[in-house]
């Protein structure tokens, strides 16, 4: 008897199911993914703190202070000072700004360029496709490191160093995205709803932007997160080698630069461990987010 009433109660409580868009479904799944959510929150905190750096610390990031060279962590300098007497904590915050900026700008350019070229090649096919894809192959075949170093050297001093770096990295990295987007578009455009869209008088531009891209957007978003992580690594790597962000601008990679001396590497851990750690954790969390997005967009995964 009690069971029956219980059931009735359940029936009454259950609200009518509202229809969710594919995007809302994906968002719901993503929010449920713990690792991805923790990573998102971590990344958000890093970004906010880096962005608010001038309000958090007042120390000068560029002034060389011979009196305070390579001090151990203390109350005054939380993470100690580097070999030029600059506060490591302050530089870490400002470095985050640059590293994230480089990562994000590169990602943005790479995604925009890659998506545009991939979508146009995939949709129009034929000669346009061949031409664009051979160009993509050409770009992908460039020896990346050598080219970055040479281009950076040529353009150095003519334009602001940071944007040269961003431009050069972006220009050499969109090939993979273009290939992926092209293959996705090729599969997607065979669907009858594309023919149906043409049949109601949509122009090619509208077909690509309004009908094809939303259907491949999930792939593009996942690729964007992976690209973001890669770009931070690329920036750090180049800066570590001394060919990346100009030396006077702090970035996580530049901070690692001083770790090439055995003395620092062995005895002055506070100089290089913080940036190394933050790079690792940031990239890890970006990858978790990417993984979470991939799951969220996959209609077959149920978790």
């Amino acid at each position: 008897m009690e069971l029956v009433t219980q059931n009735e109660k359940n029936v009454m409580i259950t609200p009518p199911k509202k229809s969710l868009s594919p995007w809302a479904l994906a968002r719901k799944k993503f929010v449920k993914n713990k690792m991805a959510m923790i990573s998102s929150i971590f990344l958000l905190i890093v970004a906010v703190i880096s962005f608010l750096a001038p309000y958090i610390t007042t120390a000068d990031i560029t002034r060389i202070n011979i009196g305070e060279m390579a001090l151990e962590p203390s109350n005054k300098h939380w993470f100690g000072t580097d070999k030029a007497g600059r506060d490591v904590f302050t530089r870490l915050l400002y470095g985050g700004r640059i590293s994230l900026l480089v990562g994000m700008s590169c990602t943005l350019f790479v995604i925009l360029l890659g998506t545009f070229i991939g979508a146009v090649a995939g949709y129009f096919g034929g000669a346009v496709d061949s031409l664009l894809m051979r160009f993509t192959d050409f770009i992908l075949n460039f020896p990346f490191l050598v080219f970055v170093i040479v281009l950076n050297a040529i353009l150095f001093g003519k334009v602001s160093g940071l944007w040269v770096l961003i431009g050069v990295i972006s220009f050499l990295s969109w090939g993979g995205i273009a290939r992926i987007v092209r293959s996705k578009i090729l599969a997607e455009k065979e669907n009858e709803y594309i023919t149906a869209a043409i049949a109601i008088g949509c122009s090619p531009a509208k077909i690509i932007v309004k009908h094809l891209l939303p259907n491949v957007l999930s792939t593009i978003i996942v690729q964007a997160t992976i690209t973001f992580a890669t770009m931070i690594v690329v920036e750090s790597g180049l800066s570590y080698l001394g060919f990346g962000v100009p030396q006077e601008i702090p970035s996580w990679g530049n901070m690692l630069n001083s770790a090439n001396e055995p003395d620092v590497l062995q005895f002055k851990l506070w100089i290089w461990v913080p940036p190394a750690l933050i790079i690792t954790i940031t990239i890890l969390s970006i990858n978790f987010i990417g993984e979470g997005l991939k799951d969220a967009f996959n209609p077959k995964s149920r978790r």
């Binding site: 009858e192 122009s203 090619p204």
Partner: protein
């Protein structure tokens, strides 16, 4: 139907002249539609019937220039719609006609709607493409259109996604999109093939109703002779990319001439039949790469084939007033010795 016959003398809405559509297979062109000519008059329902792979769909795609890029192309011929030659138009010019004056319903309602957009969005899109209309008006129009194709609760459906609708409902939505701008010509490419029988009947009923309300012409492509009998004023029978017979629907069912049509008629199961096996036409439509080079393309399956059938290509000619047949048996210049 008899009232419509009186309209036959009107100027044609659509005139297809010697249309040839070819597919490029490994460097060689193969004609999937070979020298097809016909007309559609205003307010007329023209049925196109034939086996799978005989060029019905390709022909309809050619009319709207929707052939897959790089593979299919229109080799020659004219498609004159309302006095304009569609084949000479540029892509952007024809975009102004697609969806507005000529629209199309596709065979597969499950894949003809974009899964990422709501029903309302896709309905409004065609309105925005061809009309100057505010968002609010477009939404109201969309709801009204959904209602007109017999969808209950249109206010709710308008915000739903294609995956939440059944096949029959999606086909109704497709019809709503197709008639949104009140086109003069609707091309329905097997609109009921993917639906079950009861829904089929409803959709056909709906198409008929809309046709008479909107005063539009319809080209109905199907391989179901029952649908033809139910719906059409005129019938075109296609075989292997060519028209073999064209006449009004009564004549076709009561007095079919071409051996292929006769055999098709014989293949319709009848209620009062005592035979156990369904009669069928032996063999299959030759594949595109395998078409006979000369003569009648049906000759090798035709029980009435004569030796010259394999060498002389029959022309589509009037045998009676308004009844065209492409068969050597009926060509006036030929002796009719082959008739058994």
């Amino acid at each position: 139907m008899s009232t419509k016959k009186s309209l036959i003398k009107e100027a044609p809405l659509l005139e297809v002249k010697n249309l040839e559509t070819a597919f490029d297979i490994e460097g060689t062109d193969y004609n999937a539609v070979d020298n097809v000519s016909f007309t559609v008059k205003p307010r007329q329902i023209v049925g196109v019937v034939g086996e799978s792979g005989c060029g019905k769909s390709v022909m309809s795609l050619s009319i709207m220039k929707l052939l897959p890029k790089g593979i299919g192309k229109i080799k020659s011929g004219e498609v004159i719609f309302d006095g304009i030659n569609l084949e000479k138009m540029t892509e952007s010019q024809i975009n102004k006609i697609r969806g507005k004056d000529v629209s199309m319903i596709f065979q597969e309602p499950m894949t003809s709607l974009n899964p990422v957009f709501t029903i309302g969005y896709q309905l409004q899109e065609v309105l925005f493409n061809h009309m100057k209309i505010t968002k609010k008006e477009a939404r109201q129009r969309a709801i009204a259109l959904l209602k007109s194709v017999g969808i209950s609760r249109p206010e709710k459906i308008v915000d739903e996604y294609p995956h939440q609708l059944s096949g029959g409902m999606r086909q109704r939505v497709m019809i709503a999109i197709a008639i949104a701008c009140q086109p003069k010509l609707l091309i329905a490419d097997e609109p009921t093939t993917a639906l079950d029988v009861t829904v089929q009947a409803q959709i056909l009923e709906l198409l008929r109703e809309i046709q008479s309300v909107n005063d539009m012409s319809v080209i109905l492509i199907t391989h179901d002779l029952g649908v033809i009998a139910e719906m059409c004023d005129e019938v075109i029978v296609m075989y292997a990319g060519r028209i073999v017979e064209r006449t009004d629907v009564d004549t076709l069912f009561h007095n079919p001439k071409h051996p292929y049509t006769t055999l098709l008629m014989g293949a319709i199961p009848k209620m009062d039949e005592t035979e156990e096996r369904l009669s069928s036409i032996q063999g299959i439509v030759p594949s595109l790469t395998n078409m006979p080079k000369s003569g009648c393309r049906f000759a090798h399956r035709c029980p009435k084939a004569m030796p010259e059938c394999f060498t002389i290509t029959p022309k589509l000619e009037d045998v009676e007033q308004g009844h065209e047949v492409a068969c050597l048996l009926f060509e006036t210049s030929k002796p009719k010795e082959g008739v058994r």
